[in-house]
Symmetry: C2
Subunit: 372 residues, 2 copies
């Protein structure tokens, strides 16, 4: 072994994760990951997969058969939804009000889609009116919006947009990476046909998997494709046989990440979704009241704010990167900076899952007062 590689064991510093994700992880989930592995085709693991699917359906409020945890992170979930629904030449309407809508346009263009962007200023919602306007001028295969824009802290209401997509004969695709298990989300009731999320936000599980679900309409549309899905790894037809009764070998599922997700979902369902949403709201209000009292202002109008992702303007004259570094190094608290045009202008304070506690809020406020 080269001397330069005589590396020490891992000893990462202790952090409170209050950025845009990952969030803090429960000791129960960490312990689940220390469980010795079984094989990915072991009957014991197949049962764990079934239990994960059942719990995901409950958390997503859906009866969709094709519901599972994709073996990659949330960004791959976005790509999976797009490349399974879209074929070269298909039209898609995408709401763009932050980094993740922008990203979806890039992903869709790489899949050969003709993309119609419905733009809104960063920090504002995508309105049903704007979507309706776009639908007057095209015949898209899908309408896509980001439920919770992690780059801005905006919650775009979905129900009405889902109805518009349905009327236009389009599938409704939703990014729920930061919303799932933090705010209300009703896949079936809101007419969502394809949805992806991530594990490292309000599920408080480490990053590494992407929960996804596809409606019967989406599955029918996929079965009418003229061409194979461009991605073998993300092909829902192959994944369906792997996660379904056939158990057809596709890839090797990340066993340990699925152990973690199993435990994280148990914690979510033990708490109950309504109680969990209420906790996120309550903790957000505690943070908001204190920050406003300190003179901070929010990027997003009150009625469109995500409780779990608080975008606040950095006060004039503050070197925001230096302040964030002090929070991290002196107080062990991670918060996020702005992305794109908001770089240097906002902080993104996450209160997600295990990180949505009064103690988190108070320790951040205390540290902020000392840093500023």
């Amino acid at each position: 072994m080269p001397a330069a590689l005589a590396l020490k064991p891992l000893s990462p510093p202790k952090r409170r994760l209050m950025g845009p994700g990952p969030s803090d992880v429960s000791p129960r989930v960490l312990q689940a990951m220390a469980t010795p592995l079984v094989g990915h085709l072991d009957p014991a693991f197949l049962q764990i997969m079934d239990e994960i699917r059942a719990m995901l359906r409950a958390v997503m409020k859906t009866a969709n058969e094709l519901t599972f945890a994709l073996s990659a992170t949330g960004s791959a979930g976005m790509e999976a939804c797009v490349v399974n629904l879209i074929e070269p030449g298909d039209e898609i309407v995408i709401g763009v009000n932050g980094v993740f809508g922008t990203r979806m346009c890039d992903v869709a263009e790489r899949a050969g889609a003709r993309v119609h962007r419905v733009e809104a200023p960063w920090g504002e919602i995508i309105t049903p009116e704007a979507i309706a306007g776009a639908l007057n001028h095209c015949r898209p295969k899908a309408v896509a919006v980001v439920h919770a824009e992690t780059s801005t802290g905006v919650r775009t209401p979905l129900e009405e947009i889902g109805g518009l997509a349905r009327q236009a004969g389009a599938l409704f695709l939703v990014d729920a990476v930061t919303s799932l298990a933090g705010i209300d989300l009703r896949v079936d009731e809101w007419g969502i046909d394809a949805l992806y999320s991530g594990t490292q936000k309000c599920l408080s599980c480490p990053p590494g998997l992407s929960p996804v679900t596809f409606s019967v309409r989406a599955v029918e549309a996929m079965s009418r494709r003229r061409s194979k899905c461009q991605s073998w790894y993300l092909d829902s037809a192959l994944l369906r046989s792997y996660w379904g009764q056939e158990r057809a070998y596709h890839h090797t599922a990340p066993i340990t990440m699925n152990y973690a997700l199993h435990e994280a979902l148990r914690i979510v369902l033990e708490e109950g979704l309504d109680a969990r949403f209420a906790r996120h709201r309550r903790v957000h209000e505690r943070l908001r009241d204190a920050l406003e009292a300190m003179g901070f202002s929010f990027l997003v109008a009150p009625e469109h704010r995500l409780p779990q992702l608080n975008a606040v303007r950095v006060p004039e004259g503050i070197d925001e990167a230096a302040a964030r570094r002090r929070l991290l190094e002196e107080f062990g608290i991670e918060i996020g900076g702005g992305l794109g045009a908001l770089r240097g202008k906002i902080w993104r304070i996450g209160l997600m899952g295990e990180s949505a506690t009064g103690e988190h809020v108070d320790s951040l406020l205390d540290a902020l007062r000392r840093v500023l």
Copy 2:
């Protein structure tokens, strides 16, 4: 919470993993996964990423700058190598002597490649002569072979094929999912331009990441692409900025899986590659001698056998699935069955990483004698 979802905590049975992967995982690696998380852009995590890259280069025997752990399993590593090297209309020569060469053809066709298959019977190697023959009739962008065919237990020698690819002006793409850290593999010396592996084989880390490396020639070829990579998630240009000095946010790396890989690589380098290869050989010979004494025969000729993946013919008159089930349920030992045309005809006995011990061999032999 629905009553039906009042799920018990995880308690998977104890297994000895002696199939085609995953392999047993060291308690040190399990413990690393119970480490609380830092953020994916935390300086502490960036250092862990750098250490992983350095250790991967040592294990792969390469100086390639573009060496990292892709945030998905080995099958996504295959897709990443293909879609980054290949554009629609490009030609590729692929050696097909098992499931994984077959899969690579599918992946390449989905990327728009014109695929030239060089076929060999399952259980035999891809010969340099066969590759040379194909290169007389096309001008491929890449030549691809599977170093260690997990479906058959065959080791295809790479050095000569690498030379042929270079002479033909083609990039040399290698599947090293099952070979890395189990048998000798020399990326730079053998002229390999793109290589992917998995964590759950001879690295003895849980599945979930795919170590990949690209040569300078491969990076130059990618920089001359006429079109964007069809996959956003797997686009090496974006991943290079994330894993490189820019640290440009791309996706959220699976923190915990990287903790695991860090510890698994430390274990590999502590043992030393030569000692590790010798251990795999020694344990294979112990298994082989005993199985041959029991009357078993191997699918693969002695000079082409992988020590870490032993494909043996199932004796006449044995219900192989029932026997495997008894090994699993009564003895807690997992071995693999055959895939494709070899279904029902062979067993695949893995001796990979932590599962390559005399104790594993002896307990399997003991159990086999009682089951048969």
